[in-house]
């Protein structure tokens, strides 16, 4: 399954200026449902900026972002996340002085106890829901292999474990499309491979869609079905790993003339 029929994400003619610098320049691409796509490019090519535009952290100057056919351009980040678009960050943005379990529980949407009245009265429906969420989080931690760390403060965890917590947190939110910003940065190759096998499994068994920014070319070539290459904010190529790695424009961007 290279390209599904249903379109998950469509980026249409997106532009973003930082002062005089055009960070993203008329960038367009699509991600079908159930795919693992890669977004690559040299340092400063605008990859993370594209992520921040898609997730609403930055406002686009021009162009549109469609998620499942719906225009989500310039919605607030929480509104976009509520629609099922999750993300991780280049440097994990976790709740460091909270436990692993709390981090995962915070990911879950529509919790009764987030309503003031439910919280003060501590209604049974809310407590039942919390227990069910804890069970779900434990199952997830079990799969990720860190269930023994459930009550540990995240600040005390190693980098690899923190990456897993961040992924777990996004999964608790039932996101259908997950943007991964450098998922394997700082991980040893064996662990990075396991991490990406798990991503692939999530795609195969749960139909989740992934778009990842990556610097590690081995990862990109092995795990992404389709690659979009940015340079100076412009899309310079896209295609299968073979096509892209033989593209003269890409080779030039990475190696120079």
């Amino acid at each position: 399954m290279l390209r599904g029929t249903k379109e998950m994400l469509k980026v249409d003619n997106l532009c973003k200026d930082f002062g005089g610098l055009r960070a993203v320049d008329h960038c367009s691409f699509e991600v079908p449902q159930g795919a693992i796509y890669g977004l690559i490019g040299p340092n400063g090519a605008g990859k993370t900026t594209v992520f921040n535009l898609i997730t609403g952290i930055l406002k686009a100057d021009e162009g549109r972002v469609l998620f499942k056919g719906e225009n989500i351009t310039n919605l607030k980040p929480y509104q976009i996340a509520q629609k099922g678009l999750g993300r991780t960050f280049q440097i994990p943005r976790l709740f460091y002085n909270m436990t692993v379990m709390e981090n995962l529980l915070l990911g879950a949407k529509n919790q009764y106890g987030e309503n003031l009245l439910y919280a003060i009265l501590s209604l049974p429906s809310s407590r039942r829901q919390q227990l069910a969420l804890e069970k779900r989080a434990l199952d997830l931690l079990e799969v990720l292999g860190i269930s023994h760390l459930r009550d540990e403060y995240v600040a005390n965890l190693g980098h690899a474990e923190q990456k897993l917590v961040e992924l777990g947190r996004t999964l608790m939110a039932d996101s259908q499309l997950i943007l991964l910003d450098e998922p394997t940065a700082g991980l040893n190759p064996v662990f990075a491979g396991k991490f990406l096998d798990y991503i692939r499994e999530l795609r195969d068994h749960q139909g989740k869609t992934f778009l990842l920014v990556e610097h590690n070319m081995r990862v990109v070539m092995n795990y992404c079905e389709w690659i979009i290459v940015l340079n100076y904010g412009q899309k310079i190529a896209e295609g299968t790993p073979e096509q892209v790695s033989n593209d003269p424009a890409v080779i030039e961007a990475y190696l120079g003339e």
Binding site: Q79, G86, R93, L94, D139, S147, D151
Partner: protein
């Protein structure tokens, strides 16, 4: 040894300040919203309550009006400022808080300005008049208990978890689909309402209010209590109120001249602040750790 009357008087103040501290702890300890408008909101509650009581309204009416008014003003302060972060929020709330104090000081027709409002009647509920300090201590202890229980529920609920998430990393909370502005606004209103309620009790207990009780020094005194008690810890806020209000009010009964007492107080608090920040940076009683409640085994699946 201090006479019993003084001890009771001090304990009433401890209860009132503990309600303030617990309210501020929700805002500042849980959500890390560093507001300086707290003393002014205390004043909003006190003035609302005093004016209505002097106009002849019963206690429960002026108390609820004080709570509501402080909540409403919190909302109005929060609306333009809660998108600011850290120091900016502190500066903006300081300015708005000072505007409120200016209103107390200059709206002569209503607040009588610096002359203050004397003769605020004691609390009367179900025919019982709380005119003795001991009686009032019972009343304020009950209010403290209610405030404490509400704050505990909130701090350790999913609502409180979102607040603590905002404290840790607001961008991340937003990226999980939660409207952080809404949560910040609610905790601002709830915490402000606590302060309004405390103001009402204060006005009725002391019987006289003037703008000097609601100044910046009081705002920072509350900061001191919440920080030293342990950010995010309600029980810490209550115990720190006991310690600091105890010290502050007891010093007044030593019979020293006023200017010396004030100086001793500030030096003492400064030293205590430094010592605690060095030896117990998380406060006297740090925030309680969350422990997973679900005890069943997770499904055994192949792990990563």
């Amino acid at each position: 040894m201090l006479p019993t009357g003084v001890v009771i008087h001090v304990l009433v103040f401890v209860c009132i300040y503990a309600i303030l501290a617990v309210g501020l702890n929700l805002i500042m300890g849980c959500a890390a919203l560093f507001t300086i408008a707290n003393a002014a909101l205390f004043g909003v509650g006190a003035y609302t309550s005093a004016l209505l009581a002097l106009a002849g309204y019963p206690f429960w009416v002026d108390f609820l009006a004080a709570v509501f008014m402080a909540g409403l003003i919190s909302f109005l302060i929060g609306w333009p400022t809660l998108n600011l972060v850290g120091d900016y929020l502190a500066v903006a709330t300081m300015g708005l808080g000072e505007i409120l104090v200016s209103v107390f000081r200059n709206w002569d027709a209503v607040t009588r300005g610096p002359m203050g409002l004397p003769g605020i009647p004691p609390v009367k509920v179900f025919g019982v008049v709380f005119d003795q300090p001991l009686k009032f201590l019972f009343l304020s202890a009950i209010f403290l208990l209610i405030a404490f229980l509400i704050a505990e529920r909130l701090a350790y609920s999913p609502f409180g978890r979102v607040l603590k998430g905002i404290r840790e990393d607001e961008v991340a909370v937003n990226s999980l689909g939660k409207n952080t502005f809404r949560f910040k606004m609610w905790v601002f209103i709830i915490g402000g309402a606590f302060m309004g309620g405390a103001g009402s009790l204060y006005a009725h207990y002391v019987g006289f209010i003037d703008p000097s009780s609601f100044t910046l020094w009081n705002a920072f005194f509350l900061w001191l209590i919440v920080i030293l008690g342990g950010l995010g810890s309600n029980i810490g806020a209550v115990l720190a109120s006991l310690a600091f209000v105890g010290i502050r009010e007891s010093l007044r009964f030593l019979g020293l001249p006023g200017n010396i007492t004030a100086a001793i107080q500030q030096v003492l608090f400064g030293v205590i602040l430094i010592v605690i920040m060095i030896y117990a940076p998380r406060g006297l009683i740090p925030e309680r750790k969350y422990v997973t409640r679900y005890k069943g085994n997770a499904e055994g699946r192949q792990s990563l």
